[in-house]
């Protein structure tokens, strides 16, 4: 079963993380992360999106993938942390279908 989920997650004391993802049978098929946070180097956000593909949409797996991303790339976030990305992804809800 395929579903499209999205979330607007406001990091406590930080920035907004907006997630839109396609999930197939509990696994992330593709994800697009946007928002007004800072991440240096900037190109690394697309690496994070790539890493999340094929990851089960469950806390343990998502957290592991995101922690790996930060340790492998040494990307530096400001207004957003690894936890915020995890929370944003896990809070994604199925989008309301327009009537």
């Amino acid at each position: 079963m395929v579903s499209v989920k999205s979330a607007d997650y406001k990091a406590p004391g930080g920035k907004l993380v907006r997630v839109r993802l396609k999930e197939e049978n509990g696994v992330i098929d593709s994800v697009r992360i946007s928002g007004d946070f800072f991440l240096v180097p900037e190109e690394d956000l697309s690496k994070l999106e790539k890493i999340l593909e094929e990851v089960p949409l469950r806390e343990a797996e998502v957290r592991l993938a995101i922690d790996r991303f930060f340790s492998a790339t040494r990307a530096q976030g400001l207004g957003v942390s690894a936890d915020d990305f995890v929370n944003a992804l896990l809070s994604a809800k199925e989008e309301a279908v327009d009537a």
């Binding site: 946007s34 800072f38 400001l78």
Partner: protein, 256 residues
């Protein structure tokens, strides 16, 4: 002896795409040692400038942009969308990485340290400006300036816009502000959480006046002298190339 930085006033008021191309060409040249440390001041006519991670579709009210003749361009730095018009003063600081002003080279230190010149300039005009983490300058809790920046190409880069006499009504229309963001700030609209230098001083203020105050603020704050200069031939050709390949293209500005 005091360090000298280059002061550049090059701008393309009606071409926000070229303005953003120049904005990238300068830090690229500074990091390579092909240009000196630089401060640039510039203006855009009605334009939304999106942060590099933002979704145009989510942030921009395209209908309102059409009505008000507002263009949309994306910058190479993160952070949130801002509205520029001729009452808004933009400034950018490019320093070679390793500069003693920001030895830590993390973005929060960059914002804090390189906002000080703007804060000092605004205070000299009588605005009770204060830096507010993460990247704002506020007056009594209202934002008067926002900054963004990056550390790349061997450069510490910081830019910001100062609402001098901007039309806040248009700003409120062209930007969609997500509910979750307003809820967090406990105010009902984007208009109520921003202010302008004009409103704070309760008199007409030109962006030139603020620019001059900022030049002095920067010189005092960082013990440097700013010397008027122009872009090198190399910076101009890189600007033109970036305009062609990136900033004039909807693929960069509006997608994904």
């Amino acid at each position: 002896m005091k360090e000298t930085w280059r002061l550049v006033d090059l701008e393309y008021r009606d071409d926000p795409f070229m303005n953003l191309a120049v904005e990238e060409a300068i830090p690229r040249a500074v990091g390579k040692g092909k240009a000196p440390n630089t401060v640039r001041f510039w203006h855009n006519s009605n334009t939304i400038v999106l942060g590099c991670f933002q979704s145009a579709e989510l942030e921009v009210n395209f209908e309102a942009c059409k009505e008000t003749g507002t263009q949309v361009v994306r910058r190479f730095t993160g952070g949130g969308a801002v509205y520029h018009d001729s009452g808004n003063l933009n400034y950018a600081i490019s320093l070679r990485k390793g500069h003693p002003l920001v030895p830590e080279a993390d973005l929060q230190s960059v914002f804090r340290r390189l906002s000080e010149g703007a804060v000092q300039g605004l205070r000299s005009l009588g605005v009770r400006a204060e830096f507010q983490t993460i990247n704002d300058i506020q007056v009594d809790g209202k934002k008067v300036s926002g900054a963004a920046g990056s550390i790349r190409w061997g450069t510490i880069f910081h830019h910001g816009c100062i609402l001098v006499a901007s039309d806040l009504a248009i700003l409120g229309k062209v930007l969609n502000v997500p509910k979750v963001k307003l809820a967090d700030k406990h105010v009902a609209s984007v208009q109520k959480r921003v202010t302008t230098v004009r409103d704070e001083l309760n008199r007409d203020v030109t962006t030139r006046e603020v620019r001059d105050a900022m030049v002095k603020g920067i010189e005092t704050c960082y013990s440097v002298s700013l010397e008027e200069g122009v872009l090198t031939r190399d910076e101009l050709s890189v600007s033109e190339e970036l305009y062609r390949s990136k900033y004039s293209r909807p693929e960069w500005n509006l997608e994904p």
